[in-house]
């Protein structure tokens, strides 16, 4: 038994010894690949740890408040502080995930929609009127696939040739996470795509 253990531990030691030398004995390109520091992963790890700690703190706070171990005033203050920190962490996490920075996209899109909303209210008193006017104008942009320029029918959801969703022609600059915008408001159809998404 001890002989088997001995052989296993010697093999393990030698394998680990080779691993120490490995980063320095390979080609220059492979050496560089070792140096590719995944900064995002590092950031995510730090943020996730902080988030877990904050969630635990919030749970403890809740318990302490329920058992009168902390005053109402302190509870509210700590809770607000923890929640603010948690939101900030989650925003940063969201920003890192896939590097899409969609939070800014949403903010920008909202600003522009608000601006266009104001513009439409000033220019056309009712959205329905605007919509009918657009339809009447028969702008061809909306009826052509944004990907392959195949002509589309009014009620097409996807391009019959390449399968690109019709909506993507309108929101091609938006990030993937766009539920807040998808049914944002009926004014979508009243303006040109460029006015909506910027």
């Amino acid at each position: 038994m001890t002989v088997v253990l001995l052989v296993v531990s010697i093999a393990f030691t030698l394998a680990m010894l080779v691993q120490i030398l490995l980063p320095f004995s390979v080609s220059r390109e492979e050496q560089l690949s070792f140096e590719l520091l995944d900064e995002e992963l590092r950031q995510i790890e730090i943020l996730v740890n902080r988030k877990v700690a904050l969630v635990q703190t919030l749970r403890d706070l809740e318990y302490d408040w329920e058992t009168d171990k902390i005053s109402e005033k302190d509870y509210q203050r700590f809770k607000r502080s923890c929640e603010r920190q948690a939101v900030a962490i989650m925003r940063r996490l969201d920003a890192i995930h896939g590097g899409r920075d969609w939070q800014n996209d949403i903010d920008r899109a909202i600003d522009e929609r608000v601006a266009s909303n104001l513009f439409v209210s000033e220019e056309s008193p009712s959205p329905e009127l605007g919509e009918s006017a657009d339809d009447h104008d028969g702008t061809d942009d909306a009826l052509v696939c944004a990907n392959c320029a195949t002509p589309l029918e009014d009620d097409d959801l996807f391009c019959g040739k390449c399968g690109t969703p019709v909506a993507s022609a309108e929101d091609q600059d938006l990030p993937d996470e766009r539920p807040p915008l998808s049914d944002f408001d009926p004014l979508t159809n009243t303006s040109s795509p460029s006015e909506i998404t910027g």
Binding site: T2, S9, M16, F24, L36, L37
Partner: protein, 739 residues
Amino acid sequence: MSWLGSLAIYIALYVAIVGIALGAVAAITQSRRFLHAARFATYTVFGSITVASVVLVHAFLTHDFSIKYVAGFSDHTMPTFYLLGAFWGGQAGSLLFWIWKVVLFTAICVYVNRRSYQDFMPWVMSVCMTVTAALLLILVFGSNPFEGYQLIDDPTVGQGLNPLLQTPKMILHPPALLTGMASMTIPFAFAIAALLSGNLSNTWVKAARTWILIPWLFLTVGNILGGMWAYEELGWGGYWAWDPVENASFLPWLTATALIHSLLIQERRGMLKRWNVGLMIATFLLTLFGTYITRSGLIESVHSFAQSEIGPYFLTLLITFAVSSIALFIWRWKDLKADQRLDSPVSREAAFIFNNWMFLSMTAVVLFGTLWPRIREALTGSEIAMGPQWFNRWMIPMGLLLLLMMGVGTIIAWRKANWKNFQRNFVIPIAASIVLTPLSLVAYWFGRGQHLGVIPDEVQALYAITAILLCYFVGATIVQEFYRGMSARRRAHDESWTESFVRLCLKQKRRYGGYIVHLGIVFAFLAFAGNAMKIEKDISLKLGESVTIGDYTLTYNGLHDQHYRERIMYTATMPVERNGRHLFNMNPGRAVYHTTQEMPISEIDIRSTPMEDLYVALVNFDPSGETAAFKVFVGPFTWFFWFGGVILILGTLICLWPTRESIDSLRPGSSGLGRAAVFGMLTALTFSPIVIWTAESHTDWGSAARYSLISQAESEALPPPLPTSLEIGEHYAIDDEGV
């Protein structure tokens, strides 16, 4: 094979030194190549030390007496169980075992955190490798376990393991303590990494809180097993005698306990940053200090068998680590400023700070009591002894204060307590303790106490009653916390009481695990309170004579002896009766080993129940077996000390209970099997002391009679030089045997 062991140690030392440099370069340059290399350097050192350890175990199992260490601590007659124990039975082997534990925990820490604590891990690896390299230097130059004889000098027989160490508990006690001390390196490394990297946020606190529970758990198990060994083997009649080496392992336990509490305050309130770093450094240094005083022979102790010539090496190591850690601490002093200040002296933070001061005061008292006799002797030349009475005079009141703070700290409000908090949280525990204490004291006195015939003195009685009162108070606070938590869960989730209890422990492991640890301490204090009613008698009995102690009547029915290759076992037979009714037989004994005839070993017999222990030691006997002297103790509630220990370990395990994420960090997708394995190992560890205790207390395995159960083959293989047993009344001239 010894050459392979030596080679493995040299390789480990070399790679450890290289690992220090690799880790430092990785930390400074943030180079992934160096990080990778440093990580695998730790694994290589672990592999190398494992090779050396396996070589030594192999040498023991194959009786390779060409190695001095093997010849010095084993012989042909020792069973495999004790041969394995002989690995850490001496100085060099225990140091190798310590190093193996350091590198094992380092490798685990590095593997588990291979994707986390990126700022810290290079420094953590460097620090751990520094500790390893320093210990390896001592091993190589101070006491190499693979040192051999010249070929011609090889002995054909070994000297055997010290008979005192040949008990099952001694096979578990040293490795548990050594593991506790060795694994203290990991949280220390995180603290030093924080100082070196300048990242003094709460990140190191989070890591340290997890990693310090492991050494704390092992130190606890080690101390409890050590107490059991002393109780059963040394004939003190107690489990703690303030022996210097007991104190040496108790000191880091005290500071680690304080640290576990103060880290919580830093995590929650951003206070005590300096305190925590200082306490962490002190705890690590105390583990080295404990090793130094045990092995240097500085202090006289029951552990004198562990003494060797490597004291100066450990002193150098201790001074080097102390100076460098403290220098680093001072360098970062300004950056360790607390984020917040204490709002009110009547708050949970203040209670925790007070409890920390109490732990520190106890540490100071124990340290002083351990060292002062030696310092005074060096200064004045006169010898003094600081016995248990001196320690108890200080430690009992401080312990009671600590017990009080344990209850208060559980229920007092954060930041500032108010009247509403007092009404809601304090009234029930105070009422419970005031009502239940007199009731239970009266019930015990009339139910059992008066039959023991002991009237404790005023001070003892005061301490015992206060302890019981506080036990009820703390117990009630814990029950109240659990009740409220479970009620809240039942309201929110419609769960049964059992379900809500389990989920409560799993959802808030640290909080409720901690409460269970406190409950274990409460049981231990109950055992301390029982000492007020303890009976201790030295008796000498003639053959057939009886004596009544408490309400137990013990009759001496003679000795018989059994001969084994390595020892002669003398066993007394003592039927025990109460009010004329036979209860059980006790078999205290005394073993005389052929190799150490001048040092006979007591084989104490103990009958342990929750109410009290009956403890009988055979101290001496007439060569004819006509008369024998015994030491008899009746110790109320001693059982609760061991029971409290198990509860305490159980609570720690709940705190350490692995989360899904931590199991995933071992290997993705291994949740079920990994959890089961971790849980299985930890449960076995938790219950091992009480299982051993119960088995030894209620079977013949705990007394000298166990030798008759050991395979007869061994004794049958011997030529029959003497009758194998003596009938009652048969005279036996022990002098003829040269004993």
